[in-house]
């Protein structure tokens, strides 16, 4: 299967595990990022966020920006 088809299937099918929504993601994103930067287990503290980042490109972009900015 081509990479393009695999990626399209991923976008169509989503993460396939329980996840939070975009509004909840925004509410907890700062906590998640600071926990990550502190070396803590952010996924245990904020379950459902990592799958959401896999399924929502917009929230993922904002997570990547916040992580980069907060780490600077």
């Amino acid at each position: 299967m081509t990479n393009e088809i695999e990626q399209a299937l991923r976008r169509l099918l989503g993460p396939g595990v329980p996840e939070i929504g975009c509004d909840e993601c925004f509410d907890v994103l700062d906590r998640y990022v600071d926990l990550e930067l502190a070396g803590a287990d952010a996924d245990a503290a904020v379950p459902g966020l990592r799958p959401h980042l896999a399924g929502c490109p917009a929230c993922r972009e904002e997570y990547e920006s916040l992580r980069a900015l907060a780490a600077g």
């Binding site: 081509t2 099918l13 329980p18 990550e36 920006s65 907060a70």
Partner: protein, 233 residues
């Protein structure tokens, strides 16, 4: 494809997945920010000015990350977008100051408002004047232009089932949202704006459509895999 353990339920996950944020002692820098922003007179004015500078830095950071993808937008306009994003973010931060409980550093909490404002404005600006390709793309046309002939033969059952699921298992609204977001690459903020809804509501529609599509595949003996952990850190 691997076996999926169970269908996901966004609403249920939303209720149960996020651990409550307990109020905690603020770090000294965050305390200083709050004290200044909750003061009166010149002290508050000074704190608000520093807040705006912080947010402008974040908005410009976001603009610079996306600049290469926006070659058609002149630099002056990009800086205007950053300033407008910082302005709007400052209003949001000040309005929600009581929501800050010290779950993160104050600066990280404030940054996210500016990044969101800048990202949304840039996505909308990039699609300004462009018609949305709603329902212009079908899975069949997408797959046929993306597949090598040998792959098409090997994966024909899966691909046909995906196409049938999109066509038959979804409501027209779910199909329109899924195709626009997953196949046509329309940003969720842009689609939400055009459809008169919110990102959160649209993601719920996307989630429900994905769950129906996964269920359709399972009912036809195909088990879609999971990708919930596949995000680079």
């Amino acid at each position: 494809m691997t076996i999926a353990p169970r269908p996901c339920e966004l609403a249920r996950a939303t209720v149960t997945a996020v651990a409550p944020t307990t109020e905690r002692a603020l770090d000294p820098d965050s305390r200083a920010w709050l004290t200044g922003l909750q003061a009166r007179g010149a002290d508050r004015d000074d704190a608000v000015a520093r807040l705006h500078a912080l947010l402008l830095r974040a908005a410009r950071f976001e603009v610079s990350r996306r600049r290469a993808l926006l070659p058609h937008i002149r630099p002056g306009e990009l800086d205007e977008i950053a300033t407008e994003a910082a302005d709007d973010a400052a209003v949001s931060v000040l309005a929600r100051l009581d929501d800050f409980r010290g779950a993160s550093r104050f600066t990280t909490w404030a940054y996210k408002f500016a990044l969101l404002e800048a990202a949304v404005k840039l996505r909308k600006r990039a699609w300004q004047g462009r018609e949305l390709p709603l329902e212009q793309t079908t899975w069949d046309t997408f797959a046929s232009r993306s597949l090598r002939p040998e792959d098409a033969a090997e994966q024909s059952e899966l691909l046909a089932c995906v196409g049938a699921g999109i066509a038959e298992a979804l409501t027209p609204h779910q199909r329109r949202v899924l195709v626009a977001l997953a196949l046509d690459g329309v940003p969720i903020d842009v689609l939400a704006d055009r459809l008169g809804t919110t990102r959160g509501a649209l993601y719920k529609t996307l989630h429900d459509a994905r769950a129906k599509l996964r269920r359709h595949l399972r009912e036809h003996g195909l088990e879609p895999g999971r990708s919930g952990e596949e995000v680079d850190r």
